[in-house]
Symmetry: D2
Subunit: 403 residues, 4 copies
């Protein structure tokens, strides 16, 4: 392995990546640049992060504000496909990884680094997502994954490692739950969740109120959709990121967007997590409701297929592949007519669409009801059915003949 | 068209099929046999139905109890596929049609009839479902669809028609909503629902309590699943039909299983309906939860594809086709490991799985967490990722070379 | 039905559409405009066609040269999907229908017609393709399908009909085979083909030489592909139409591109046809060969799925639908890297790719062979396999535990 | 790693596995049992193989005749799906791996071995296929893959290794092409094929005659199919294996079944191979031809989807998974009506179906042609088309209204 001179680390300020900085310097004898992606994980996590990075031994610390780009260029295109992983998961962590990796690569190219490093463990999906993006964007850069290399195996070991080097940390020995947050969602794993027969407790949920504690009064939000994208809420135009933040606040208040799932990780095992996606859940409901109005039967089915395929591609870290781009193209094409207005009612954990309309609506009161109309003559149905079931008829006649 | 001597009519006791009996006799000069399918639509609808049929002019009236068979042989196999039409609809009306049509055909063959008749309108799906089943099961029998033939165009016209013939009816002039019920669900269409911008009102829901009026205390049910089928609830073994009825009662109490959908009808137009499937919703959640534990990634994805395909086949009245049977086989094969136990919490309109376990679970606390184990060595992941992203790497290297 | 003043007829110059002109005038009391689409069906069929139309009673005759547009805007986009219907049929007739219908609609709008007419029979696919396009492009225009209306039921009847009106025709009483041709293909149906147990005879093939009579010497052509489109042949840049014509000539000489198929028509029955697509077959082989070099595993599979879906959409006359456009977008996206050069050998009915190369090729001699290389370390495979088969391992361990 | 006492090696008698025997003994200090699978690779390869194994140091050598079982239980079920990998490859090597691995595992359990070993290289698919099967069938057994462990890197090194140990071998230093054969196919890789711009030469083909040298007279074979399986040829009942051998001979004589493909390996790279599957190609053509007669449109499409999915599962070594079994069930269900008789003409590299018939045929001369019939009334088509294109019509009317 050739010598590494400068490595750009995806730095979060947490215990793991804090320990990685000195570990890289000692084991690779290289300069370490900390790269922090602001994807909306919260002020708390970003406060003082540059100082922390430098104190841990980084030569530089870059903070990239990716919040708007993430929602506009990664989340919104994904929503058009309707991607939901294994029937439940709105892909919060998955959608953030490609944009972080891309910005990290750009940082590396700018500072002339020859390697990339991340703090993902060796049993999770994120290592695959980061490294797949690295392979697609900068195959010439080396990749270092300390969790697959070092022999530090516990929080205690990491704390000792930092203490020995006099690097201060606010991390505590006890950390029961593992979490990941961005503007779209927060995930919680570990602790009581490790036994699937345990009910999630209050610590498993962070952003959203318990539905049983949510307001007794429901609330509605009015969502305006244009070409498959939420462009206004309650009549006010908003950027994608603004709309998400606004709906997060509304949804969280009513306990909307909680899921508790056992999912198949890409690396062959299953894991359990509690995910909260309050605003995203409202957006999804709104988009699907407009689709109900404007997509014909075959188009709706294809959109569902695209969503299924996209859910795996996104989950599996395949964003920067021709296949993923092809599927996003297809979904974007279908979304051209997905414009309309939806009212979503929030109540005790649920987001329910109660009203919907669209200029492109294929629903027509006139055609759907019993009366006569210009477009649909009931007698047409007889011919339709006859041809529609013709092969069944011929098959049955054949069978009778053979008896 | 050859002369018809005897026709078997799918008789519901409602206004439409009551008028059809004399209409058939007058227009086809034939004997009319009424066939009533008991699919759990409710005692009210069945009470005195034989007298009614005979009073309307039927020569005979047969009532077939199809409730157990419907749940066991039509609904349970469908549930294994996970079929949900256009993301929402649990296919309540669709799943009942094939079994009714099949029993009606059997009745016709037994009484030596030469024609079949149904009371479905010319704009709906049910005409297609009935006649597709007829074509597959008895292509030699003629099919009469009065709604596509006669010029009676309103309730008033039908009432007048019966009055002129001195046939008593309890039907009223005003009937705003059109409903269909069986053990699995009840649907409501028409009235305020005809404008998609209207919120459903209290008349749009029949079985389930309004979530806002549901008990403030949640309740849990324990569901036992074996090979993809619910076999016990709260520890008590139940037949499929019993389990459904039991869960219907539980779900309805908590406002579970309401949907309000604009869907694509098979005949090319859209319609809107409010559907209630309280017990079915709980069953679905339970089955999917066990699947989360036992199906691997690719199997889960295929099960979702099967559900998507099956949803269209069942909705479209394709039950008695080789394709539908092939898909049911595939789903049944996958369901062999879908056994386990699930706790579902019912609260204010929601059915949420809080606990789940299975002897076939592929989830393992040992493998999923950070510690060492025999089965998964974190260093394996490095090789996995490298090969997994190899084509991306080669593509990127190519692109760089070409620059 | 409101009165029709002027109708535009898709006119071929054959017996059927010649009879339709006077029939329309007599039965609808309207002006008839003949519209002729030149899609490469051949000089013979176009010679003197205007005179013929006018002699039959048309008020005007328009001839539109659609050859280039058909190949560039309909065939080439379809080829990127790889669409082949039921494993064999290269969709020759299907791809021509949308462009003819579109041009016919444009003609109708220009001349201020209020109706459209075609000469397709009531048992075929083409009526559906024409009328589906009409519905999508000009729903306000009436559609007349004489074959579903009149009671002329044989060639003899049509000839008599014309004779009675003193309209000259060169059509003969005996016409065993029914054919359809355009630049892409020629189809033959009827005659001996009506029994699937009959071998096609010499009359079933028109353009291509019998492979057994083809030259004993093979010939090669060099095909250059750019972004999924054939742009040059034997080193010479060509328009899509030119390339097709050139390859037709080459392929026909060697008996390339014959298929004999029993296919499922859209209208529920099966039919048998012999189709010849000499140039198209060569193009298909060339495109697929470049794809072998440049598409990764998942992309290749998706391209095959797109082809399967597109084959049905195109066959079924769904060209002007959002779904078809979405699928074409997806295929076009994938085709961006499909550039390269291919040598195709033509011999006795076969077109076989013998050489292929591409700057975007993901094939690398260095990686594929046994030696060491930078990109692929054999030890990576161990980790890959371990994770790849992890769920199988866990399942098997579970099963053993349960014994 | 715990100590290994006895290992069962998949032994071929070739240079690699001959070297593996002493290497295992030296490096693992264990007893080595040679396991030879007879899958129809040819007498030459099996002659004296037991002596060879013992001479190389094996303690025992078992030879299992798997020929009948492979064709009956692996190939025939696969054929029902129509699986063809990346449009060309009939999966010859892929289908043989699971049965070999299964028999090897059974041998290991019988002799009380604690490990399994194979001679596949670290860059190919076969290592994944073997080890995936091992994981599914005997997860408790260790797996040794010498090519990923040792530092022998060339034929020369292997020959030296054997010479140093006085183990005789007939292997020569020069071996340009790498081949794999079984009853279904023979594959050739390496040599001139490593440059995709090279035309395959005479050494790239082993079983089949060059089409240009094939007989000038064509020959036909009559294939009888029952429920998706070839049961007789030329009127003579044959077992699956017999039928394959018989058709191999016929096909090879006429140069049938050659393909030259660049394919995506499972391990992320591409490779090129020349594959010969003479009998298999004839079987495939015959099965597809019967399907043309008996499968309706939707069933045919689903069969194609199953084939696409199965091609990847089989290629990827996923035979012993619930997903693969589910797909095989679905295909077997569809195949129940695939019975009939087909005549295939063999000529200069091509296998062309010229005649076909089936009692289950949905094709009917009566329905397909112009005349009147009982089953299909042309006027039905008008209603069919109207509903079929209804959503297009509504969409277009909407668009016009918005202008």
């Amino acid at each position: 392995m050739s010598k590494i001179n400068k490595v750009v680390l995806a730095y979060s300020g947490g215990l793991d990546t804090s320990a990685i900085i000195p570990w890289l310097k000692e084991n690779y004898d290289c300069e370490v640049v900390a790269f922090v992606a602001d994807v909306g994980q919260g002020e708390d996590e970003l406060e003082g992060i540059e100082e922390k990075a430098l104190a841990s031994g980084a030569s530089q610390c870059f903070i990239a504000d990716l919040k708007d780009e993430m929602v506009s260029d990664y989340i919104y295109p994904s929503l058009k496909t309707g991607a939901v992983y294994e029937g439940k998961y709105l892909l919060g962590t998955s959608m953030a990884r490609p944009i972080i990796a891309k910005a990290q690569v750009e940082c590396a190219l700018e500072v002339g680094a020859d390697a990339l490093c991340h703090g993902c463990t060796g049993k999770g999906n994120d290592q695959v997502r980061f490294e797949s993006a690295f392979a697609a964007l900068a195959p010439q850069l080396k990749v270092i994954a300390p969790w697959r290399e070092w022999d530090l195996r516990s929080r205690e070991a990491l704390l000792d490692y930092l203490a020995e080097r006099n690097i201060a940390t606010t991390a505590s020995l006890e950390k029961i739950y593992s979490r990941d947050a961005n503007a779209w969602h927060i995930s919680t794993e570990g602790g009581v969740l490790e036994d699937t027969w345990n009910t999630p407790n209050e610590h498993c949920w962070v952003w959203t109120v318990d539905p049983e504690q949510a307001p007794d009064e429901s609330e509605t939000v009015n969502v305006t959709v244009e070409k498959g994208e939420v462009v206004a809420v309650n009549g006010e135009a908003m950027t994608p990121y603004q709309a998400l933040i606004y709906l997060n606040e509304k949804g969280a208040r009513h306990g909307v967007g909680r899921i508790d799932i056992v999912e198949n990780r890409l690396v062959g095992m299953k894991s359990r997590g509690c995910y909260e996606t309050p605003g995203g859940t409202i957006m999804m409901e709104a988009l699907r409701a407009v689709e109900q109005l404007v997509l014909d039967k075959d188009s709706y089915e294809f959109r569902e297929e695209l969503g299924l395929k996209a859910s795996h591609l996104i989950y599996d870290g395949r964003w920067f592949t021709p296949l993923c781009q092809s599927i996003l193209s297809a979904a974007d094409s279908l979304a051209q007519s997905v414009s309309g207005e939806v009212v979503v009612k929030l109540y005790k954990g649920q987001a329910t669409v109660t009203q919907k309309r669209s200029l492109n609506s294929l629903y027509s009161e006139e055609f759907a009801t019993f009366g006569e109309d210009e477009v649909y003559d009931q007698s047409h149905a007889g011919g339709f059915i006859r041809l529609y079931s013709l092969s069944s008829r011929i098959r049955a006649m054949n069978t009778q003949k053979q008896k």
